[in-house]
Symmetry: C2
Subunit: 451 residues, 2 copies
Amino acid sequence: MEDVLQIIEERKEVYLDWLVKLCRQPSIAAQNVGMEETANLVEELLQEIGAETQQVPTEGHPVVYGEIGAGEKTLSFYNHYDVQPPEPLDEWDSDPFAAEIRDGTLYARGVSDNKGNIAARLAAVDAYVRARGSLPERVKFIIEGEEEIGSPHLDDFAQANQALIDADACIWEAGYTDPQGRPEVYLGVKGILYVELTAHKANVDLHSMWAPIVPNAAWHLLRALQTLKDHQERVLIDGFYDRVAEPSASDLEALRRMPFNEEGRRTQLGLDAFINDLTGQPLLRQHLFQPTCNICGIWSGYTGEGLKTVLPHEASVKLDFRLVPDQDPHELFDRLVKHLEREGFSDVEIKLLAAEHPARTPTDHPFARLVADTAQEVYEKEPVVYPITPGTGPMYALCQQFGVPAVSIGVGNANSRNHAPNENIHLTDFYRGIAHLVTILDRFSAVEASE
Amino acid sequence: MEDVLQIIEERKEVYLDWLVKLCRQPSIAAQNVGMEETANLVEELLQEIGAETQQVPTEGHPVVYGEIGAGEKTLSFYNHYDVQPPEPLDEWDSDPFAAEIRDGTLYARGVSDNKGNIAARLAAVDAYVRARGSLPERVKFIIEGEEEIGSPHLDDFAQANQALIDADACIWEAGYTDPQGRPEVYLGVKGILYVELTAHKANVDLHSMWAPIVPNAAWHLLRALQTLKDHQERVLIDGFYDRVAEPSASDLEALRRMPFNEEGRRTQLGLDAFINDLTGQPLLRQHLFQPTCNICGIWSGYTGEGLKTVLPHEASVKLDFRLVPDQDPHELFDRLVKHLEREGFSDVEIKLLAAEHPARTPTDHPFARLVADTAQEVYEKEPVVYPITPGTGPMYALCQQFGVPAVSIGVGNANSRNHAPNENIHLTDFYRGIAHLVTILDRFSAVEASE
């Protein structure tokens, strides 16, 4: 690979320039700021590396699509060009869209999530083609513009454009080095079922002197919530765990090799203990392989300063259930509705706010091994392989439902501060990420077929 | 009483003028608007009827005190010169401090709560003295300026000025006619214990992907709340009901005579049923004679539009316990603290926001009978006697702790809209209230000693 690495070295200012350009172009999907300009910029950069491009319209922001190379196999890259809002602005040490570099670290909203990875993947293809004349496989870029607002149109895009997303494997959007500089490799994402429940009682808030005889919506909601989970955090919805897959032997092996500074994390969070006093392997196993029922927010009645004696007639809660393979968010939504009916809470209104399937690639999948092995070579450190991550993304919509294995890696670091002020990547990680990608491009066509 | 009633008739414009003056002078304790001016105006009006006056300073707004007449017995009037804030202003049909009269009804912030009653009591004393030359007993006016913000200094005032408040009986601040025009007579108030509980877990809000292993403050708070009350609304704090007095035979007789349009109220509130499907006498008995544990407000995590996947590290609830005789709010606060400790929630922070004792005068007390009998005579309708009201006031601080029986009557109506836009009283109720008061003044000295 010396020839390709040599090109990366020669063109490092060009690649950095692409990254800086991307970072200086705001693209805040939630505020509809700079979206069209960024989609055009991404398309131009794809054209600059020789890709055939198109912007595929959706009901929201377009998906920028690029295709380059030919071969028996196809590798796709999933990324997104939108970023989180930069607020709170006064907590940034430099302008979030200035892309300032200090001590080898580039600070910008979106540089880690996800523009650094877009630039690195463009650079990898560019370097490979310049060194070797062509790619050994077809490469597809699928770069959406709505990831930070929940990818509301990505499933529609995928259903309508299966030919575009068809691939033998996919490199997912992002990844990080851990505090020891070890590259992390993620083989899946949890799914999510996000609902809002609202209990209604009287038709207005009342003076609390009515409490002896008029039912209180907040108590009613609390009683409904209490039926959802026991004190050991086990979800009580009938059939909730039916589809939960047991971790495989290689999953458990990956868990055992995963460094987790349990004590440090516990202390950092100011906790006396983790849930159910878990420690060690059972703690990690719970974190990655167990679904949850989490209260994201709850509100009812008077929440201001001091006292107001009110009997609230409405109470609401936002719940997210993080789902593990092979749980199905739509099936579980139906089960939740039935559960509340059966428990006597059919009067509680249920709104479905989000549903995403979990998705994962087996730990011993050849593509997973390729990504991990090449990480080991390039970083010269043992990668940390997450059989699944506890977060959520549209991996099922774009990959798993079509049988495409996906693995996530990227150029972030343990303190990249995604979604927070002073988001950053180290430039060394940027270039090492490019080197990792060209190595994958080089070996991918030789990997045995997906299982 | 013809002579006294004749004076009321002759001076009706003067008495209305006093009322209008009081209503046109804003006195919003919560916003510290016009408090000094109003205290001075009240003192001037007391002087106008011949009372010896003083303004007794407190740590907040002063208590305006007036004394007039002599005799073996002493009757006190408790009132307050402060009013609720007038907001929302755009829902008023006339300026809240214009005291506009339309169709015999005077609209103003505070006219029902409580300036109409101040003016009526001033007028009653004035008319009696003009007709008869002097009062048959000593009359004391105790008019505080902080009732609408919870009477925070009234107990201190009472403790420090026992000679001023010493009396054989007290006419409490306010009362109303019911929808049938029957005068209501209230013999007590519930107490209150108002607390804010806050559960803390991690030291920051986290991404909800941590939910499998990091405890959620909202769930913790919900579990604590769940230990406080069973599904039949019975409070589970050890000893909570120990001091709850059983209603007496005459209390139950008063309940039986109390009109309550149960069906109308239920329909008006949009309820399928009252708590525990109660109806009839058990419903009324629950309303007046049972304490509560009510959620006034609860909040945690993300409560805005749409979805945010957060694991809240704090959760708070405001609870009010309405207490019945002879429950003690301070004792129950200690019991609540112990309860939470025993149930495993000693990490839940508890703030005491208010504590007021319940207070009441027995239904068959001679003073209660005097007020009810004279109401019957003046209104020519059977009064509705509430052995206790489900609301709360500082009756214990001012009366019951010193053994002074208190009965509440006043010049409001069933639609007086206290604390709401278009607060009002009917002028007929104002003058009838004055007539009722002069009749009480006339008979009071002949009533047998308090029991």
